[in-house]
């Protein structure tokens, strides 16, 4: 139940953001965001018998990815302060917002594995 809910929210959220990134010309970051979305959506696929654990593994991995990607955004801003500061766009803020949820998902999924 929680798994499916998280997957829908996060998969959908990143898909939308990915499309916006591409539409605004940031193609590579868009690709990255869409990959992130795919990580969640493929969690619906039933390969392993135990659907729940399987979904949790996608939430777990997605969370790690989201964390790395957000880390990148933030480091980039910080570092850019040294030379020509880059202003985060609205979409970037949304990305970070969704990533907070992704991280919470990670913490939730973490408990299911040793």
């Amino acid at each position: 139940m929680i798994e499916s809910f998280l997957i829908s929210i996060l998969g959908g959220g990143y898909a939308a953001l990915g499309i916006i990134y591409i539409a605004t010309g940031n193609i590579l970051w868009g690709f990255l965001t869409l990959t992130l979305s795919a990580v969640y959506f493929f969690g619906f696929e039933k390969v392993l018998g135990s659907g729940k654990e399987h979904k949790a593994s996608h939430i777990l991995t997605g969370g790690i990815f989201a964390l790395i990607a957000s880390g990148f955004l933030i480091i980039e801003w910080l570092v850019s302060l040294l030379s020509e500061p880059v202003k985060p766009t609205t979409v970037d803020w949304w990305f970070l917002g969704v990533s907070v949820v992704a991280f919470l998902g990670f913490l939730f999924a973490r408990k299911k594995f040793v």
Binding site: A38, V39, F65, V79, A109, F113, V114
Partner: protein
């Protein structure tokens, strides 16, 4: 004479980490199987006695297959170290204990080390070492090479074995009757042969039954013919193996208690990372992030060094006044070496990203994901893993092909690996991309790297077509556990690699810079257009005219053969001789290149002649200079054709 202690064990169980902890060395450690490819030695004084430790390539069993496995097997057979320490992974003991049984059959004075005990404990796995000692008849120590736990105990136990005269390890497992009968018969025959007295007869007999090629040959040379059919060898082999596993399983039941019933963290992540469809985009994402890190995040630090160098140059010019000495120091040394040093942050960034992937355990996953694609190229994912290492430097990539079992595949991997862009080529790309593709740097670099991989792939198809016919050996590789890299390991990794780059800057790049300066300054005291360098470049210029390269670019390419960074040194001298500030270098370059020629030049540098070190590595690892020369010729032609295509196609578009 120091006593010799050899460390053997399965790949990736932490032998080298343990070796480093024991001897204080800093050998290459990474989280994938097959890191160590040659023997490494180190001395440790312990309680007044010198002990020489020998670290060996990982090995699954004593029936050796690939080159690195042979190295280990031959070492323990021929060099007869005083003590052999078999290292096993606490979370994956079966395979390691199998090797232990084989070693026990072969010789005395064996010890068992169960490593990574910290990880086992974290997962709720408990290991009773007394049970292991009882069933295998060997001293056993639980260690963690990361926390240092058990290292003192290990040294003490080793010392004890070295000083006490008694023979250790006496457990022998008995095989089913029909095997034992056969063994006894062969042992009888072997006992009679004097030449074989240095071997344990039982071991030879077992290997003989298993059909081990080397042992068969050895016995044949003593007049013992192999009268057993292939099928029978096969039968004995499986009887012997299953008995060993049976034994191990009983011991494991006694010695290991575990609360593991849930899926492990690694398995959960692998579900996504090695997913059929997701695997590839995830790999590309990782690559993209690595380049973004290398370029965007590190750029301000590069700029810092750049302005530092410029300030230093200006200051020296003021202090020293005009003259050839000033020009030598400022244009030659600071321009040439400093021009390359500017990219140190990027290169360290690159190594940080690579080191993270290696220590995290992602590398073998990437190999696994692309294995199906690689199969179409008649290579396996294992080659891909070697190739990725080439992003750091081609030489270790070529060395690591020793872990590839199939000689045909190994040779092809060696031959194509120079096309993988190593970190030495990065400064060239960065300089040109920075000058001509401002604002799109990370994306451009990403595309360049992808192209270098495509070029490698196409090349391996070609070599396969020309040289060999045959099917690749499918990839069988154990995926290591994911591990969060420790900061210390990561820093050591980055520093060890980065140091090499700095050393190059202080040696070959410095010498090349001074040489270029001399050729650029004389005979007409700084008039670059009539200098020796100009004559040299202009002489070869006609060959490169179709590509749109001027003599300065040609000169840079000539010097770049020593080490590709030197292309950058040459540029900063030839374009910087007029005493303008460093920022002007970009403008001077931008004025001489169009985006199309810049791209053509970049691809030329990507493909043309591997550096001297790589050529030497190709010769030694492929076993003949013939291949090295082929590789030089081939890469030059590819570079030329590639650049020509870019110029022609680019000309049509523009």
């Amino acid at each position: 004479m120091a006593d010799i202690v050899a460390l053997v064990g399965n790949p990736n169980v932490g032998k080298t980490s343990l070796f480093n902890a024991l001897t204080g060395s800093r050998q290459y450690v990474a989280n994938w199987p097959g890191v160590t490819v040659s023997r490494k030695e180190g001395i440790r004084r312990w309680r007044g006695r010198e002990i020489k430790f020998v670290d060996l390539p990982g090995i699954y069993s004593l029936g050796a297959l690939s080159l690195d496995e042979k190295i280990t097997r031959e070492y323990i057979i021929n060099e007869a170290p005083e003590v052999v320490v078999v290292v096993v992974d606490a979370l994956n003991m079966e395979q390691g204990l199998y090797l232990l049984l084989e070693v026990l059959e072969m010789r005395e004075n064996v010890m068992l080390v169960v490593n990574a005990i910290d990880e086992a404990r974290k997962r709720g796995v408990y290991i009773n070492k007394y049970e292991l000692e009882k069933h295998f008849g060997v001293h056993t120590v639980l260690t963690s090479a990361v926390t240092g736990e058990g290292v003192t105990e290990l040294l003490d136990k080793i010392l004890h074995m070295l000083t006490s005269k008694q023979v250790h390890s006496l457990v022998e497992i008995t095989y089913p009757e029909e095997v034992e009968d056969k063994i006894n018969k062969i042992v009888e025959i072997i006992r009679k042969k004097k030449e074989l007295h240095s071997y344990k007869p039982r071991w030879l007999a077992v290997k003989f039954l298993e059909g081990d090629a080397q042992v068969l040959e050895l016995l044949k040379s003593c007049g013992i013919e192999d009268e057993i059919s292939q099928e029978e060898h096969e039968k004995y082999r499986s009887l012997i193996a299953s008995r060993r596993y049976e034994y191990i399983e009983t011991v494991m039941k006694e010695a290991v208690s575990s609360k593991m019933e849930k899926m492990s963290f690694s398995e959960a992540i692998d579900h996504v990372m090695t997913h059929r469809f997701l695997g590839i985009p995830i790999f590309l994402s990782f690559m993209y992030l690595a380049f973004k890190f290398t370029f965007d995040v590190m750029a301000p630090f590069s700029e810092l060094i750049d302005s530092g160098m410029a300030a230093l140059g200006d200051w020296l010019r003021n202090v020293m006044g005009d003259g050839w000495a000033t020009s030598l120091v400022v244009d030659g040394v600071i321009g040439g070496v400093g021009g390359v040093l500017v990219f140190v942050p990027n290169i360290f960034g690159m190594f940080l990203a690579l080191g993270f992937m290696e220590e995290f355990g992602y590398l073998p996953r990437a190999a696994f994901v692309v294995d199906r694609l690689m199969y179409k190229l008649k290579l396996s994912g294992r080659s891909f893993m070697s190739l990725i290492l080439g992003f750091g430097c081609n030489v270790p990539a070529i060395m690591s092909t020793r872990g590839i079992g199939d000689p045909r595949e190994r040779l092809i991997t060696i031959l194509v690996s120079p096309f993988i862009t190593c970190s030495a080529r990065l400064p060239v790309y960065l300089l040109l991309v920075g000058a001509l593709f401002r604002g799109k740097e990370a994306a451009m670099i990403f595309i360049i790297y992808l192209s270098s991989m495509v070029l490698t792939a196409l090349s391996s198809i070609l070599w396969n077509k020309i040289l060999f016919k045959g099917e690749p050996v499918p990839l069988i590789m154990e995926l290591p556990r994911y591990r969060l890299p420790t900061l210390k390991n990561l820093m050591l990794y980055v520093w060890d690699r980065g140091k090499h780059f700095l050393e190059k800057a202080g040696s070959i790049i410095l010498i090349a810079s001074i040489l270029i300066w001399i050729l650029g300054y004389f005979p007409n005291a700084g008039d670059i257009n009539t200098s020796f360098a100009a004559h040299m470049g202009k002489a070869l210029e006609p060959i490169f005219r179709p590509l749109g390269f001027n003599w300065k670019m040609v000169t840079a390419l000539i010097f770049g053969m020593a080490a590709k960074e030197v292309v950058v040194s040459t540029f900063s001298m030839l374009y910087g001789f007029s005493d303008e500030a460093a920022a002007a270098l970009h403008q001077a370059i931008a004025a001489d290149f169009t985006p199309v020629t810049a791209l053509a030049f970049i691809f030329f540098v990507m493909a043309y002649i591997p550096c001297f070190a790589t050529i030497a590595a190709i010769a030694s690892e492929s076993g003949s200079w013939k291949w090295a020369w082929w590789s030089v010729l081939y890469s030059l032609s590819v570079a030329y054709v590639l650049a020509l295509i870019i110029v022609v196609v680019g000309g049509m578009i523009a």
